[in-house]
Each structure stands twice: as structure tokens, then as C-alpha cells.
Symmetry: C2
Subunit: 119 residues, 2 copies
């Protein structure tokens, strides 16, 4: 019952991108996802731009990487359970899974977001 639709049946299911269930979040995996400076910047940008944000968050985060690299980072964040991705047409809207993260690891996201890099 955990996995409703396995591999996108021909029916609807359009927006199904694999994301772990809220009760299956793994701390080491999440920490590893957040340990990359680029991904951390993305998460921070997502937190700042409110509810939902288009993939251009890469630009907003000041990322200077190629398309495929950005896609890879978003995939890591998505599969670790940090972000949710909604597909609409050719666009993808990314958002932080704040509630799920807060319930699985209380205050973790706050602690991470509170950090300011003094370079």
C-alpha cells in the first residue's frame, strides 16, 4: 500500500516522481543530501522563495552548473525526501517538504537554514 503506482501505468499518474514516504526518511541520507554546498544553496533558496518554486531556483541559488548537473542535484534532493517535485507540462515546480522533514527530524531544517556562511 505504500507504493500506489509502481512504474507509471499508462493511465494518469502523470506527476509521479519517486519520492520516499514521510515515514521512511533516513537521516544519513538527508544529511548527505544537505552536505553539498550547491544543494544547500538550493534548499536555502527554496526556503526563501516560499511555497513553491520553479526549477530556476538554480539561478536564484547562484548555481553556475550545467543543466544536467542541476537536474542531478534536484534528483538527489528529491530522492532523499528533502524536496517535492510537481510536474506541469514541461515545467517542474520544486518545493521543500517542510512538514515531513520537521516531523521526522524536528528542528533539523531550521538549524540548517539558520546557518549563514561568512566567507
Amino acid at each position: 500500500m505504500s507504493v500506489e503506482d509502481q512504474v507509471a501505468p499508462p493511465g494518469r499518474a502523470a506527476t509521479a516522481v519517486e519520492e520516499p514516504d514521510a515515514d521512511r526518511l533516513d537521516l544519513p541520507v538527508v544529511l548527505a543530501a544537505l552536505a553539498d554546498p550547491g544543494r544547500l544553496a538550493i534548499v536555502r533558496a527554496l526556503a526563501e522563495c516560499g511555497e513553491e518554486c520553479c526549477v530556476k531556483v538554480g539561478e536564484q541559488a547562484g548555481l553556475t552548473v550545467g543543466k544536467s548537473t542541476l537536474s542531478h542535484h534536484l534528483k538527489v534532493l528529491r530522492e532523499s525526501g528533502v524536496t517535492h517535485t510537481r510536474t506541469q507540462g514541461t515545467h517542474r515546480y520544486v518545493s521543500l517538504r517542510r512538514d515531513d522533514l520537521d516531523s521526522a527530524f524536528p528542528h533539523l531544517l531550521d538549524a540548517v537554514l539558520a546557518w549563514r556562511d561568512r566567507s
Copy 2:
């Protein structure tokens, strides 16, 4: 023949193990240090055994790795600023740098330690 006049002045300096200053802790580095399950187990064991703990924390943490691997993990934790290491004789006592971590990343350590793995 290896180290003629390298470092090691004839004086004291004994217990100097490299650890970053409290105001130089880097979040991605700390997160990466905590992202390894083995190191996370060590940190948890350190938190449970109070103030200071000998290196046998590896056993207490249930680590089944070799000496060199354990040494490596402790080095990563030390150099990331998560732990403090005090040398006494042939023994090394490891402790969490709770204060420094809490002041640099408030609630981060608490959030990490609060997590319980349901396997």
C-alpha cells in the same frame, strides 16, 4: 631519516591535534561528517556516555570496523570540528564539542541526536 628537522620541536606541544576553531565551523563539512552511519553511531555513543569517552567508543557504538578505519572516522569527526580529542599517554579521549556546535549551529546536534533509527 624521514623527518629531520620537520616539526616536533624538542619542547612540549604534545597534545596538539588539529581541530578547527569554534568560529570556523563549516556546515557542509559538519553535515558530511555526520552523514556516515558509522560516524553517526559514534557521535550518538559519545553523546550518551557523557563528558569524555575513550576511543573504545567504537565498540560501544557497535562499530565492527578495523583499527585504521575507526581512526579515520575519528579523524574526520575531529577535523570537521564535531569532536575534541585529548591525548594522554597512548590513549586518546574523545568528546563532543557540544558548546561550539550549539553556538555555531543551534539545535543541529539536538536534532541529529533525537533521531532514532527504526530498522
